[in-house]
Amino acid sequence: MMKQSAASTENPFKVPSLAEQERMIEAVLFASSEPLSKLQIEMRMSHGCDIAEALVLLRKRYEGRGVHLVKAGDGWAFRTAPDLGFLMQKEQVEVRKLSRAGVETLAIIAYHQPVTRAEIEEIRGVSVSSGTIDILMELEWIRLGRRRMTPGRPVTFVVTREFLDHFGLESVRDLPGIKELRDAGLLDNRLPHDAEDNENRRKIL
């Protein structure tokens, strides 16, 4: 192998062996961003290479492997074996900014948890679409808490461990700015995670 590669690099006039040609084509096709025709491959190789034969050999070498040498039109390229396509189903994750309704709902749940849907609606002043709740649930940022022991026994929402991880918080008590918000008069002085208290607070408002 060493001898072969030495021949190809050190003496450009000598025709590489067939095995070396195969090796060269393998590298060229692997690195190329598009399928290459015989002519295109030939142009990259040293003079006197008969790449047709080397291509046949190379194709044979990859038979039954996880990668195949395939010909499409007049172009040659490596492709993963069709039967393994299921392995290549890469999830393309598109990251979008959470909508304002989403952020607000999430904020209310974080600061007031456990909180019912009716309470979220009351604070936001508009109804909460189930789509918003669904997205937050799917993101695993919120989950169902205990049912509230009031008529109708409504479900409550609380934030999750996943939420804390995403926002880099140890606990909801660490919500940055909660103190600042309170000092600025933007928050009620009562602890937001005390359900009992929240209930009372809501009665006053």
Binding site: Q89, Q92, L187
Partner: protein, 268 residues
């Protein structure tokens, strides 16, 4: 760095024109060096010995000679070159004069060894850097797969938000829901007018010879958050009004720190 950019060694055989010429070449050189350690290393290399056996005394002399020549040629040297010169002069004295038993600190030999170590280490890193850059490199000598299209993409949408988004949303919600115009509210009696506040303040500021927290001027309406908001706003506005009128001074140590008031000394 090409060889002809090397600084002059003071033990050159020729004085006069040649050394002068080379000393002038140094001006260019100083820019070429990355600090005094770099220059020292270049000087050390000129000793053409193993860096571990380099003569720190000779090196110190060469460096000081270089600084001396630069001074003669009125070349301005950066401060760190002069700091190094001072240190090397100290090293030289330590190496030449026997250390008395009462002398504090490391010996000349220790200091020299320390400097030799630094030179050796820098040289080693230079050589390693060169070896690293000379390696076969991705995109130059070896390549990644050119076609990146075998993945059939299954698109999934995820959402993101920052903690700031969260806080801003919450703050906005709070301001929106709480700061309802007070004149629309049923609790009209809770409204503390600017006029009321001004009168109250005027009556009280005489006592504020020293800094007093603004909150102590706010009338107590415990249990009524909306009322507190109104009284705070009016008191603050009244305070500003009095500052404007030259009757009051106002200060705040920082964001969210208490606002403090003091009566302006009218005798001044």
């Amino acid at each position: 760095m090409p060889d002809d950019m090397m600084p002059t060694a003071p033990d050159d055989d020729f004085e006069g024109n040649k050394s002068r010429h080379q000393a002038e070449a140094l001006t260019v050189d100083v820019d070429g060096f990355e600090g005094p350690l770099d220059l020292l290393l270049a000087l050390a290399r000129m000793q053409k010995v193993d860096l571990r056996r380099v003569s720190l005394l000779a090196l110190a002399e060469q460096y000081l000679g270089f600084v001396e020549r630069a001074k003669r040629l009125r070349i301005e040297l950066a401060a760190d070159y002069l700091v190094m010169a001072a240190w090397l002069a100290f090293l030289k004295s330590r190496l030449l004069l026997p250390q008395g038993p009462g002398d504090e600190g490391p010996s000349g030999e220790q200091l020299a060894a320390q400097m030799a170590f630094r030179l050796e280490r820098l040289e080693a890193m230079r050589q390693s850097a060169a070896k690293l850059m000379a390696r076969d490199r991705k995109g130059k000598d070896f390549f990644v797969r050119g076609i990146a299209g075998d993945h059939s993409a299954r698109r999934r949408i995820t959402y993101t938000a920052s903690i700031l988004d969260l806080m801003q949303a919450y703050a906005w919600l709070n301001t929106k829901s709480r700061f309802k115009p007070l004149h629309n509210m049923r609790e009209r009696t809770l409204v503390f007018t600017m006029e009321e506040a001004l009168n109250r303040m005027k009556a009280m500021i005489g006592q504020a010879i020293d800094w007093v927290c603004m909150s102590s001027f706010i009338p107590d309406r415990a249990g009524h958050p909306q009322g507190l908001r109104s009284t705070t706003a009016s008191t603050f506005a009244a305070a500003l009004e009095l500052v404007k009128a030259g009757k009051l001074e106002i200060r705040q140590a920082g964001t969210f720190a208490p606002i403090e008031l003091r009566a302006k000394d009218v005798r001044q």
